[in-house]
């Protein structure tokens, strides 16, 4: 809903802005136009200048050529009245204009029109110079204002602007609110869609077509989701079924191989071969259960049994178990547990976390058959607890590191085995982070950061 409110407020601001800009543009254009018209008609050839073009030479009136051109180009006629109101000189004077004017007649046309000709007058020492414009070319009006209006001009212009702004705002608000009400359900629909909820909006009204589109997209998404879930579910179940079915035959292989291996009546060579079968069966067993777990973790079908877990205890237990029987003298484990982690717990699935740490130890052992020292450190870096498992062996291949550190593994890059994939999945399922790297001193380092319990 916030985004819709934001859209509406933007809309209001822009509507008011549009109104103000229009007002300003109108004012500017109007003033520029007025200024230019006046400059053409009056500033370049004012009547005073034209009047001076008429001179007395040898007792007769003489109009200069340029002045005549100006009069013929921009006006229609000109005349000069003496003090008695008699025409003593004229140019192109229309026939309907009388040759003599009374004082009231002069007073009248000097302000308005003479027979519809707009006229301009200029007082000369020898009389009154009258210039006649073309009919309908100029609108003449005498402007008269109370001085009080001009006194308050700096109050009423901003006031008018303010009222205009408020009005524009109010109108935009009314339209905006109407738009808001019709957009609100659509915004809700889009939000629901992003949360994977089914959306069914009313398709009536102005935005009905939009609503119908959203409904359709939502239905599509829901369908796709169901199909995907179904496929993931089917795949996980399929893998679970296979890993179940493979166990019974594998029991027989492993059981009999083990029996042959310990049968003292058989020659040593045969017993060793049986031992190989037994060990490889155990590897298949691990692979099968890893595959099953990885597929369940991948599609969130592994329920987490959450409880407070003490990582120092967990690390000690796993290390002791490995040292007590699962590893020979080629390998050692050094454990360094920071004092500040002792009382900390995390919320997690103890069995899965054990699996993750064990997988890392096993991985180090598998890749360093000549032996290595495994170093496990536990440090608190609130709000996380950092568990790193390092060794001084051959380390990761660079591309392998790159792939393991990506959010999802790239099938084109070298595959690192289910063991490490599971580590990653388990850490992610606990809301933690995992980083695979090589140590500068040689060997690999895997850093798990798991969120601490607060309080």
């Amino acid at each position: 809903m916030k985004s819709v409110m934001r859209i509406i407020s933007r809309y209001l601001v822009s509507a008011v802005g549009v109104a103000l800009i229009l007002l300003a543009v109108n004012f500017v254009v109007f003033f520029i136009y007025m200024f230019q018209l006046n400059s053409i008609e009056q500033v370049e050839y004012p009547v005073s200048q034209i009047a001076e073009g008429l001179t007395v030479q040898n007792g007769a009136y003489q109009l200069s050529d340029t002045t005549e051109k100006i009069i013929e180009g921009n006006y229609q006629w000109a005349m000069l009245l003496d003090d008695a109101g008699k025409v003593i000189w004229s140019l192109n004077l229309p026939a309907e204009i009388p040759q003599k004017f009374t004082v009231p007649e002069v007073a009248s046309f000097s302000r308005w029109y003479l027979d519809d000709y707009p006229v301009y007058v200029w007082r000369r020492p020898d009389g009154l110079f009258v210039l006649g414009g073309r009919v309908d070319s100029v609108w003449k009006y005498n402007i008269e204002y109370q001085m009080v209006v001009f006194d308050k001009i700096f109050i009423w212009i901003p006031l008018v602007l303010l009222i205009n702004t408020l009005l524009a705002f109010a109108i935009a608000l009314v339209f905006g609110l109407r738009l808001y009400h019709s957009l609100k359900p659509l915004a809700g629909g889009i939000r629901d869609m992003s949360e994977k909820k089914a959306v069914k909006l009313s398709t009536k009204g102005l935005l009905g077509e939009l609503a119908a589109g959203i409904n359709k997209a939502s239905a599509h998404l829901v369908e796709q989701d169901i199909a995907l879930d179904k496929r993931d579910n089917a795949r996980t179940k399929w893998i679970a079924a296979i890993s179940h079915d493979i166990r019974t035959p594998l029991s027989l292989v492993m059981g009999y191989a083990s029996e042959l291996e310990s049968n003292a009546e058989l020659p040593t060579a045969e017993r060793e071969q049986a031992g190989i079968i037994r060990r490889q069966s155990q590897r298949i067993k691990t692979l099968v259960s890893d595959l099953n777990l990885a597929s369940k973790l991948e599609y969130d079908m592994q329920p987490l049994r959450l409880s407070p877990v003490s990582l120092p205890g967990l690390v000690r237990k796993i290390s002791a178990d490995f040292l007590n029987g699962m590893m020979d003298e080629r390998y050692t484990i050094d454990v360094e547990i920071d004092e500040n982690t002792q009382d900390e717990t995390i919320t997690g699935d103890e069995e899965l976390l054990t699996r993750a740490v064990s997988n890392l130890i096993t991985n180090s052992m598998q890749h360093n058959p000549k032996g290595c020292t495994i170093q496990i450190n536990l440090v608190k870096e609130a709000p996380f607890i950092s568990l790193s498992v390092m060794d001084d062996g051959i380390g990761f291949a660079e591309e392998q590191c790159l792939n393991l550190n990506q959010p999802t593994e790239d099938p084109d890059l070298p595959y690192s085995g289910l063991g490490l994939t599971i580590v990653r999945q388990i850490v992610h399922a606990h809301g933690g982070k995992v980083k695979f790297s090589n140590r500068t001193t040689g060997g690999c380092e895997v850093l798990l950061s798991l969120p601490l319990d607060m309080g």
Partner: protein, 240 residues
């Protein structure tokens, strides 16, 4: 019934070859009375007719499941039950143990693992007192004799020292795991019934006192060793 090998053991599994293999393994180990059933119906018949002393039970059966069979069985029998299942999900293991099974083994398994677990269950159920003979409760660390029966230490000069309750708990736990690392949590659990780490400091105090009693040179221990970061282990145990 004089030994665990006299126990009547019923194997229930729908895979005849697996039944045969388990029978072979148990026979070679010395068990004398082994029966088998391949489905729930046969298992029920055998349960009421033969009254087995222990049942090795598969979970997936053609006419029902092992969990159901165990529930029925528990109505009139308390014979120990060991699940041998191809289902490895923890829920199944917990369900099985929650229903009162004595152990849960996932397929595939090593014969030795099955034997050890079966023997442990049978010993626990039928011969709980004979698990460790009294002579096994006396051992030596160099010339020092430790008697867990009486909770006393006899040094080579004849001096007798009594162990405190905590010291006794530690030495007993370490002795049960001779040669193996026992974590701090495990030791605390043995002494205080609690594995919270805050006991570590008192644990160190108790271990020091224990060393003064059993070691020739407590500052350079030869028997009760510290495994840095993890816990302790007892080595050099001899019997006379």
């Amino acid at each position: 019934m004089e030994t665990i090998f006299d126990c009547k053991i019923l194997i229930v599994d729908d895979e005849p070859e697996l039944c045969r293999m388990v029978t072979d393994i148990l026979q070679r180990e010395g068990f004398r009375h082994i029966l088998s059933a391949s489905n729930c119906r046969e298992a029920r018949q055998s349960l009421s007719k033969d009254r087995p002393d222990c049942v090795i039970l598969d979970v997936t059966l053609p006419d029902g499941d092992g969990f159901m069979l165990l529930r029925e069985m528990r109505a009139d029998s308390s014979a120990p039950v060991l699940f041998l299942s191809a289902r490895d999900e923890d829920q199944n293991r917990l369900l099985g143990l929650g229903l009162g099974a004595d152990d849960y083994i996932t397929k595939p398994f090593l014969p030795l693992e099955l034997i050890l677990r079966l023997k442990a269950v049978l010993n626990r159920t039928y011969f709980p007192l004979e698990q460790t003979g009294p002579q096994e409760r006396i051992f030596y660390l160099g010339d020092t004799q430790i008697d867990l029966e009486s909770g006393t230490i006899t040094r080579n000069d004849g001096e007798q020292i009594t162990l405190t309750a905590k010291e006794f708990a530690f030495i007993e736990k370490l002795y049960e795991n001779t040669g193996k690392i026992v974590t701090i949590e495990n030791l605390c659990h043995a002494a205080w019934g609690d594995n919270v780490y805050r006991y570590e400091n008192s644990l160190m105090v108790h271990i020091r006192r224990l060393r003064e009693k059993i070691e020739v040179d407590p500052s350079a221990p030869r028997y009760l060793l510290t495994v840095r970061g993890l816990g302790y282990k007892l080595v050099g145990v001899t019997k006379k």
